[in-house]
């Protein structure tokens, strides 16, 4: 009833090419962003910020990066955790080694080094494909784990191998309270989200998708696989690297290589698969599913038990959390193999006809 595009005529090419062609979409998204900036700070408490919103924002950003590589360019990568680690550790090194280094520049330099590492480990993608590539990118994961554990320079020769940062500020404005951290991450996410969305709509984005759909055909019509594949690795690892920097600097404050272990790589890949490959929106859904659901289950189950007067032990809750989470993943993949983003678009289609579907 409300979600109809009837009567919205596009009279210029500009209008035809905008991100959200339908006015309702545009308004809803703008309202959502405005709400995230202005509304959320009035509604949520510190726990929501620190435990849910900030990790969600940062991991959405990382999932966005992975989605460019896996979803748009079709190069399966298990090295995302490593690229996050490079982003975090190199941002740390530029931050502490160069006096007066601005925070944002440090984070971007983390992204820059992640790009270099990403391109380097992306080179095998020119020869190997699919699962073989996934195995090849595992090398990045193991190499980075090793480097950050063993090479003292990266951790500023800390005895324990754990590094930490504090008293962050951007041009004199502190990034210390949960609200400031939230807004800081949100700005990053909005800027990178917009950039990524525009990239995938541009010529280079279409090149990536052509490579994903059939690389031989793409090469035949004049797309250079080297350029397309490596640029996807570069863009993806830059975004993932910045997300890694944010994860270390803003979310954890103090971290060790275990924070970016192989588990993190899998987690990011699952976010993309569950959220929806080749969809910017899907990255957000996937991140929400993976970040929020376990925490939700962990708190919901004891509450549910209390309703029925049963006290569930911590261990049982934890086991049940894994079981339900796993079952839900399988179930979602069977019911909707194209991810949560597909569910979203189905919902939108239905909404167009609602309330008179026939």
């Amino acid at each position: 009833m409300f979600y109809r595009e009837n009567g919205q005529f596009k009279t210029t090419y500009r209008k035809d090419q905008q991100i959200f062609a339908i006015a309702q979409d545009r308004w809803v998204i703008l309202a959502l962003i405005a709400f995230a900036f202005v509304g959320v700070p009035f509604l949520v408490d510190e726990y929501m910020y620190r435990a849910i919103l900030i990790p969600f924002l940062i991991l959405s950003l990382a999932a966005l990066g992975v989605n460019i590589l896996v979803g748009y360019c079709g190069q399966i990568s298990l090295g995302s955790g490593a690229f996050m680690a490079v982003g975090a550790y190199m941002a740390y090194n530029t931050y502490i080694r160069i006096d007066g280094m601005p925070l944002i520049l440090a984070l971007l330099s983390g992204g820059f080094f992640a790009t270099l590492v990403g391109i380097f480990f992306g080179v095998p993608s020119l020869r190997v494909k699919g699962l073989y590539l996934a195995v090849a990118t595992l090398a990045a994961q193991f190499f980075c784990d090793w480097a950050f554990l063993r090479v003292g320079w990266f951790t500023n020769n800390n005895a324990s191998g754990s590094v930490s940062v504090s008293n962050l500020n951007v041009m004199g404005i502190g990034i210390n309270t949960p609200l400031e951290k939230y807004l800081f991450c949100l700005v990053f996410l909005v800027v990178f989200g917009l950039l990524a969305k525009n990239l995938v709509r541009s010529a280079i984005g279409r090149e990536w998708m052509a490579i994903r759909d059939m690389d031989v055909a793409a090469a035949v019509i004049g797309i250079r696989p080297v350029y397309a594949k490596l640029s996807a690795f570069a863009v993806s690892s830059f975004i993932v690297g910045v997300a890694g920097g944010l994860w270390g600097f803003v979310h954890l404050g103090s971290w060790e290589p275990a924070a970016f272990s192989i588990d993190r790589s899998f987690q990011l890949l699952f976010m993309v698969i569950i959220g929806g490959m080749g969809s910017i929106m899907g990255s957000f859904f996937g991140a929400a599913f993976i970040v929020i659901l376990p925490i939700f289950l962990n708190q919901f189950l004891p509450a549910l038990g209390a309703v029925f007067g049963v006290e569930i032990s911590t261990a049982t809750v934890s086991h049940a959390e894994y079981m339900i989470f796993g079952a839900l993943i399988v179930w979602f993949l069977i019911v909707e193999p194209h991810g949560l983003a597909k569910l979203w678009s189905v919902a939108k289609q239905k909404l167009r006809l609602w309330p008179f579907p026939h």
Binding site: A51, I96, S160, S164, E256, A258, A315, V335, L343
Partner: protein, 445 residues
């Protein structure tokens, strides 16, 4: 299509439920002193995490059975971290504001300790890391909110070296010897490196560092190196399944178990039980207590809780090493509050920053400890503004094939070695974080 509709409906329902849950903020419960309990009852380290958690919770229950802290009842809530830093941080955020505010956190993982060390001063909540955590946090001048009570890893490392020297017949005999440190490759395992390097430089023995990656079941290459180089002693800085694997590998390699020393996380029943006689002779340090099944406190727990069916976990594990560790850690949490009540009002709930004062001014004399049921288990602990550790006593115990037995007298860590190390490391931390040392006036507050 039906399944898809179902999927849509559940997604919407889940979103609705989630928002409903979010809106139920913690209900305010005053008049009770709230202790958050970070535990790991699942995951690779669960065999060791469970007895600790049981001991911790049992002590809190016992305090209530004894009538509270000067009448103030204790409440607690568990949160499962699975030994993962990010889940630990989530637990911290979840519990810190609940039930009138958390009194103190005990992270029970070096990684989580590092993360919370950055957060605690901002939230003004003290951290107790009894026998673990970061060793330099014993310096209260820099680490205002950290309390590595009754020992750190550096104390443990120092005492292990003292015992090895004693067995060899003097510190000068260490010269030219070869000691291998097999460590869990994490901030926890790496804590041992500085102290052993310091000793190696002092006594002139060769130290080789052999890391084992999480969770520690893969040690073949490590033991190949040990078989080749045949070190005189092996120091095991392991945790969880790594310990029993190490002992089995030692057995397979034919390395004498008498020459292996474990840190206190590697010296409990779950580590050696599966190996049984194969671990006979294996030594481990204890930060004061070992298996204390005969102690007054254990009898009291059995009588007041387990006999009434209110105990946590299996009855026969009460009094084992890690269970005692849990009891002992909870005891510090409680006694700090009791001390704080002396200053801020007896029989009142104290805030986290008031409790911090209590932990900084702990004065657990022997009569007090005996009255609490820790006779023969613990030695006095007294902290101050400069010294957040409070005691540096330790003993060595040895597995005889069926139980742990003390095999050494009390040792005291060598302050001449540790003090300068702590100060240097703390100053480095302070410089990195641009913290100034606390003034004497700050110490009074």
């Amino acid at each position: 299509m039906k399944l898809r509709q179902l999927a849509l409906a559940t997604t919407v329902a889940a979103a609705g439920l989630a928002s409903a849950l979010v809106s139920t903020v913690a209900t305010a419960q005053t008049k009770e002193q709230f202790f958050p309990v970070l535990v790991y009852r699942t995951g690779a380290y669960a065999p060791n995490g469970v007895p600790f958690a049981n001991g911790y919770v049992d002590y809190l229950k016992l305090v209530n059975a004894r009538g509270g802290i000067n009448g103030v009842k204790v409440s607690y809530e568990e949160c499962e971290t699975g030994y993962a830093t990010d889940r630990g941080v989530e637990c911290y955020e979840r519990l810190k504001g609940k039930n009138g505010g958390a009194t103190v956190f005990q992270p029970l993982s070096t990684g989580i300790t590092f993360a919370l060390t950055e957060k605690a001063p901002i939230d003004k909540i003290p951290l107790i890391t009894a026998g673990y955590g970061r060793s330099e946090s014993a310096d209260g001048g820099v680490f205002k909110w950290n309390f590595p009570l009754a020992g750190t890893y550096w104390v443990a490392g120092d005492v292990i070296m003292q015992d090895i020297a004693k067995k060899l017949g003097g510190a000068d005999k260490l010269k030219g010897k070869h000691i291998a440190l097999v460590y869990h490759d994490s901030p926890f395992g790496k804590e041992a490196i500085p102290i052993l390097q310091e000793h190696a430089a002092m006594s002139g023995f060769k130290l080789s560092l052999l890391p084992v990656t999480h969770p520690g079941v893969e040690q073949k290459s490590t033991w190949l190196q040990i078989r080749q180089s045949r070190p005189d002693y092996v120091v095991n800085w392991g945790w969880g399944v790594m310990n029993s694997t190490l002992l089995k590998e030692a057995q397979a390699t034919g390395y004498p178990r008498e020459k292996i020393y474990g840190v206190w996380w590697a010296g409990a029943e779950p580590d050696v039980k599966d190996v049984g006689m194969g671990a006979k002779g294996y030594n481990a340090i204890t930060m004061q207590h070992g298996t204390e099944k005969g102690s007054a406190i254990v009898k009291e727990v059995l009588e007041k809780l387990h006999a009434k069916g209110q105990g946590t976990g299996p009855k026969d594990e009460v009094g084992e090493v890690l269970y005692m560790r849990g009891l002992f850690s909870a005891m510090f949490a409680i006694e700090g509050v009791r001390q704080a009540q002396e200053k801020y009002g007896k029989g009142k709930v104290v805030t986290a920053s008031q409790a911090r004062w209590g932990y900084e001014n702990l004065n657990l004399t022997q009569p007090k400890l005996d009255a609490l049921g820790f006779k023969g288990v613990l030695r006095p602990v007294s902290t101050s503004c400069a010294d957040h550790m409070g005691a540096n006593w330790a003993r060595i115990h040895t597995w005889n094939g069926s139980k742990w037995e003390f095999s050494s007298d009390w040792y005291q860590a060598d302050e001449q070695i540790i003090k300068p190390m702590v100060k240097t490391a703390a100053d480095k931390y302070a410089a990195e974080k641009k913290i100034t040392r606390r003034t004497p006036a700050d110490c009074q507050s």
